[in-house]
Amino acid sequence: MAGSFEASDGLSSRERRALETLLTRLGDDEFVLAERYTEWQVRAPSLESDLALANNAQDELGHARLWYDVLADVGLDERALAYERDPADFRHGTLVELPFETGDWADAVLRSYLYDVAEDLRLEALTASSHPKIADRVGKIRSEEKYHREHARSWLERLAEDDDGRGRLQDALDRLFPHALTLFEPAVPPRLGAKASENDVAKAAAVDADVVDLGLRTATLEELRSEWLSIVVPFLESLDLAVAVDRDAENPEADLDALLPDARGRDGAHTEAWFDLHDELTRTYRELGRTETTTIMEAPDG
């Protein structure tokens, strides 16, 4: 039963919760990944790759803002969402919050690949969203995203050409793959100010079922995950990388669930790295009102 999201007022509490939960996970993924990507500026292996990743970061930030914009209609302010929210209220998957291994470009391109394939699939599932503003944004975002996948794929192919590069990719894959699976976990409804309770965690799957039932997204998370696996596993295997998934196993779903990390991000539990990153990314905002400049040394006498 598709809901009516033509008007933002008059939403039922079920509709509002589904909408907020969906948009928070979409916007937070993009916002946090953009923040991580910027760490590569002036550090990527070539000028071109530096610019490419900086550009991708700017794209993801723009996309985060497009999703947060829709939340503005239900009274949630973009600046508050980005800079004043408790870090525990973010609903991004842990894949996007993990720090890059120092100088490990394989980590950056593999992470981008795992994420961007997932993003394309979920955008496809938003094309016919029952929420007109969501549907309105999908074409623009997808047109910008296709370059991200091209960039990641071409780098993966280059890195996989020799043993050293492939070894780095394999390490990154072993480390990142469980976190990539969190992208397909149901999100605990954001309480936006209140602590999530165990009750909320149990509710996550039901709220995601509402997201689909109300037509906000037209595929389930299970369907998206299964599609994602059908794309990334053969591609990674074609590069002679070993993926920790046996798709012919008796119960592949249970195997995948067993791989999931303890903190999944979507459930409001995050790795320590997220809290450090959040502290850093909100620092300038918190210091907007400061009246004294930072000094790097004592003023010389006289």
Partner: protein, 154 residues
């Protein structure tokens, strides 16, 4: 259009129907008629060629709003998808060339200010829309000339 600082993050229990009903959603965004993405009009961007009266004055004001990076106005660039005038109340629908446009706030504020300064305009709403996606084909002929003069190949 800017929602900056007008509303904080709301707390509260989403399970509480009564609490939910008390919230005032309407005051934050007054415009709720959205056009479906898959029913995108083919008649955008608009240029206001046939406008008269107050609407014409609004289009003239919009024509004077320049892109901050290139010597071209927002109308020639093809960013303006619709202008609706209802008495003194004006709604401008516009898009941007790029979702991550760093001049986003600047552009929407410049549009808002230019329209607000028109005699007879009481209030202005600027809405960003993203369908259909902007393409270089939406730039007007005179806009193309200006961009070529600037050194871009269009």
């Amino acid at each position: 259009m800017t929602h900056d600082g007008t509303a904080g993050v709301e707390g509260g229990d989403l399970d509480d129907e009564a609490n939910d009903a008390d919230r005032d959603h309407g005051s934050v965004c007054a415009y709720t008629e959205y056009r479906r993405g898959d029913e995108s009009p083919t008649d955008v961007p608009r240029t206001g060629a046939a406008a008269d009266g107050l609407e014409e004055a609004v289009w003239d004001a919009l024509a004077g709003v320049e892109d901050p990076e290139m010597p071209i106005g927002v109308v020639d660039l093809g960013l303006i998808y619709d202008v609706r005038v209802d008495d003194g109340s004006v709604v401008v629908e516009m898009t941007l060339t790029y979702s991550g446009c760093p001049a986003r706030t600047m552009l929407t504020e410049n549009v808002e200010e230019a329209v607000a300064a028109v005699d007879g305009v009481d209030d202005v709403g600027v809405r960003l829309v993203w369908s259909p996606e902007w393409t270089v084909e939406m730039v007007s002929e005179s806009g193309r000339d200006a961009l070529r003069e600037f050194g871009l190949s269009v």
